[in-house]
Symmetry: C2
């Protein structure tokens, strides 16, 4: 196994949620981090033109925009609002030159127990936004989320499920639709190796890093720094690279009790160190 | 869809963790609950012969014994200790006339990131205890646990995975090896319908009920009472019964912040009410 390439380390801005986008961009410059994935709330706070200009001025590769999706809704008005917001997300991704728009597809609408229906809404929602994404040359990356987030965040929970949607909506494998492989969400999957191979270069749009802590104390906000948990990170990198993925590896850590409490520069230092040592 | 049969409601004793086994048996009598699954710590506390006698005297169907398993270990001594404990669990299950021994298979050994290795240890561990289970006429029920418990409790996380083990170790479908379908662990699975059908009558050994709360505040001990969450319980019952399962439905609620804090009789009342209304 080759060592992780320092040129391919990216920061997902949520990892230093304590920072503005400008601070995150400056931090990447200080720590010589070459890629960045941006969250929309921080992008809108800075303003899209100013952010686009700062990202360009720093020579950063924008590995993604987080996030579109959240398709299932209780009624047509909710679905329409989600669709319109998703079109805006595509425009924002285009404006900052993002390599993809990450889709967190949404869970059950409030009060609903209709999981199959929610999943159907996801397929319809992606189909509806795909033409605009194609025109804007913004690939859509479906991110399967861990099954523990099925009810409230994303009802696509395995790579196999995400790839079924890709096959249905983009059978020609044009590159307009693919998946984000976040180790946190997929490490447990008994079908992981086969599904990464099935995705292949055309559909592998992102590789996200963090670690699974034992014990984990929160279903969403207790991710670990690489090396602090039990995920075999080099094995998963070998799988995605073996399937043809040659892009960035992006560190995305939601950590309310630990890393979000620290000084951002120390998080970036540790993230570089652990990327080299553990990934 | 037919209504839930009150004669097929069972109590898993963990639902009233606040009670001794004798108290749980008495509670079943008071509430006319016909089936019970027993945890080993409570069984040992009461003593196996006394418990067997009390269960019999009350005409209770013993739907299961919780639990065997916990196979993966860091070394041969750990594996041997697990094996010997599993043989004792079979003997206990036989002594109380349990319809099956539930297997919670265990997660990664401390310090290990070798998930494939842990899963192989599980297969080997089940294979090693199966002859004794056959002699004792105690079917082994592999319970796939939710993927959020993969690291620390069970590295078998889908019905498909559990059934692959069954097919490998009991290809003749003798009834000696099967699965426990706990709605909490499997509700999210996009392959659920197909895997329940695949299991069929021969391999469906248990059906466990509770609900998935939104939000869920703990990865193990925050299950909800049926009707308080988002699982479509009648749909899953229809699937298991449609596949030929005609046994009990057993209520198993781990709830540190709520149901374990209540008076046990009120839990049993509510459980009967919700079983009739929501399952």
């Amino acid at each position: 196994m080759n060592a992780p390439d320092p040129e391919l380390l990216a920061l997902n801005t949520i990892t230093i949620k304590q920072s503005t986008l400008q601070q995150a961009i400056d931090g990447c410059a200080r720590h010589d981090i070459r890629g960045i994935t941006v969250w929309r709330d921080r992008l809108q706070e800075m303003g899209v033109p100013a952010a686009a200009s700062a990202l360009r001025a720093n020579g950063l590769t924008v590995t993604g925009l987080c996030r579109g999706g959240m398709f299932p809704a209780a009624d047509a008005a909710g679905r329409k609002a989600a669709h319109e917001d998703n079109l805006r997300a595509i425009d924002e991704a285009q404006a900052i030159g993002a390599a993809c728009l990450i889709l967190v597809v949404g869970g059950l609408p409030p009060g609903s127990k209709d999981l199959a229906g929610a999943r159907e809404q996801v397929r319809e929602g992606i189909a509806a936004m795909l033409p605009h994404a194609r025109e804007a040359h913004v690939p859509l990356a479906i991110e399967p989320l861990h099954p523990m987030q099925c009810a409230d965040r994303a009802c696509i929970n395995t790579l196999g499920q995400a790839l079924d949607v890709c096959d249905a909506l983009d059978p020609q494998r044009t590159g307009a639709l693919g998946v984000a492989v976040d180790v946190y969400h997929v490490w447990w999957d008994p079908d992981l190796d086969a599904q990464i191979a099935r995705a292949g270069k055309d559909r592998l749009l992102a590789h996200h890093l963090c670690d699974w802590l034992v014990p984990t104390t929160d279903l969403a906000f207790d991710r670990g720094m690489m090396g602090d948990g039990i995920i075999d990170l080099p094995r998963i990198r070998a799988l995605v690279q073996g399937a043809g993925y040659a892009g960035f590896s992006e560190v995305e850590i939601f950590s309310a009790r630990d890393w979000w409490q620290r000084e951002a520069d120390s998080v970036l230092s540790m993230m570089k160190e652990r990327y080299a040592a553990c990934c």
